[in-house]
């Protein structure tokens, strides 16, 4: 199993991750060798094995549907790159 430069570009787009053009081949090579390592798992028969998502097989805890957080918008926005009137600013999306 190996990945082409095109595959890397597709995955990078899915992840919204900028990869410099000159690095694409390098990532394709690295990721292909990691994939090679992962295909080792194919040798093991896992038919009927329940996938393990949590080390202690715990269930998600439930709690009362009650308000527990206070409004800290101003506090949180002090570290935002750009805000205005309590809103996070991004480049215009809709013309």
């Amino acid at each position: 199993m190996s990945l082409t430069a095109n595959d890397v570009k597709k995955i990078a787009h899915l992840a919204r991750l900028g990869i410099a053009e000159q690095d694409v081949e390098h990532y394709a090579k690295d990721l292909s060798s990691v994939l090679e390592l992962m295909t080792q798992m194919g040798r093991l028969n896992t038919a009927g094995v329940t996938p393990m998502a949590h080390p202690l097989d715990q269930m998600q805890r439930l709690r009362e549907d009650a308000v527990t957080e206070t409004d800290q918008r101003d506090h949180f926005q002090t570290i935002a790159p750009q805000t205005e009137a309590g809103l996070y600013l991004v480049p215009k999306v809709i013309d």
Binding site: I11, M38, Q40, M41, T46, R63, A80, P81, Y88, V90
Partner: protein, 483 residues
Amino acid sequence: MHKKNLSELAAGLRSKEFSSVELTQFFLGRISQHQDLNAFITVSAESALQQAQAADQLLAAGNAGPLAGIPIAQKDIFCTLGAKTSCGSKMLDNFIAPYNATVVEHFNSAGAVMLGKLNMDEFAMGSSNENSFYGPVRNPWATDCVPGGSSGGSAAAVAARLAPAVTGTDTGGSIRQPAALCGITGLKPTYGRVSRYGMIAYASSLDQGGPMARSAEDAALLLQTMAGFDLKDSTSVDQAVPDYSTGLNDSLQGLKIGLPKQFFSAELDSQMAATIQAAIAEYQKLGAEVKEVDMPNLNLAIPAYYVIASAECSSNLSRYDGVRFGYRCKNPADLTDLYTRSRGEAFGAEVKRRILMGTYALSAGYYDAYYLKAQQVRRLISDDFKRALSEVDVLMGPVTPSTAFKIGEKTSDPIQMYLEDIYTIAINLAGLPAMSIPAGFIDGKPVGLHVIGNYFSEAKLLNVGHRYQQVTDWHQQAPKGFE
């Protein structure tokens, strides 16, 4: 003062041999004297001295706990209100967390003094600390070598006596591997034992914080402060925290030690094997019994880990989008450009590799072949441990395939670096507690002994570590220039 253990420091503070302010100034001095190790990303001298003054008042009032006034340092993955939390990344180089991690809150309540934030591999991804935006950390035992990672700054700081004890986190070996390479004691607790709230996420089903110190005795005091149920962490386990210090001296007569056959294969370096065997022989003198155990699926731990960890990382790190906090690129053309360039400019190569790998493994058409398969393999590995630990009390083996390697030696080949964690990764998949304790040297560089226990057996592990440290002095040796 840097030679004293935590109990001796606590006694010194109470007998007024020194004050917390003096102690803090002393360690701040050592940190500044050994800046070339690059163990710290941030030194918080001013707030540390304020905390020390407060601790001195607490001590004078006579109602202070065992860590009151004692300087510690936090891995820069734990959020600290008012001090930068970078996670070793350019992405968070400007990030001042709006709240404290639960672990940080625990240390604050205990009256401990935080000297600063420790260097680490970016987002805890790495085994050499070379993936830090702030540059590599040097191993105090051999300054041209890596300290291990991702908690490389933590391990180097303790080994160089820049702090008596510190925190680390372990997703695939990030406490134990650097502890081994730097000759200190590091414990990864059971998954869920220490709150992950405010501990920046890498792979949430594997991440676990824990103590790093010179001895098991000190690690016990630290874990006592760190462990506990936390409503703010949905995977925190609601189980009482035992006293980790009372059983330290329990006899090891009849302790059953299992040696996984797969840990001692012909590929294991002969000097490493001999050092580990010598440590195990020491346990036999203490009354332990040894038997071989078979764990047939261990060899698939690395591939399963890199699927699961990468998948979880690609999901966790999607929050860094340049909108609400962290790095934002200059002059974004549109929203996609903002996301893509902010992430592309601020993440390092290894983080990018894992995001890409994880995105691929989770993408349509590949999910079953990679992610589901890896979760099934994870179950089989976990079952191997359950079987083995129903026959024995603890498992032992090496922590690392070799001692500390040269800076730059393994950076060109990611697979070589991944294999560094071959003995540690399976434990995270199973969620078990495990510890590295100093067990000797090869050519002047430290070797760690791996001790793995059953779920919530941290007290037993610390007991096993402490008894060994009563009859050996590996953990007391200091690197040249740092004595």
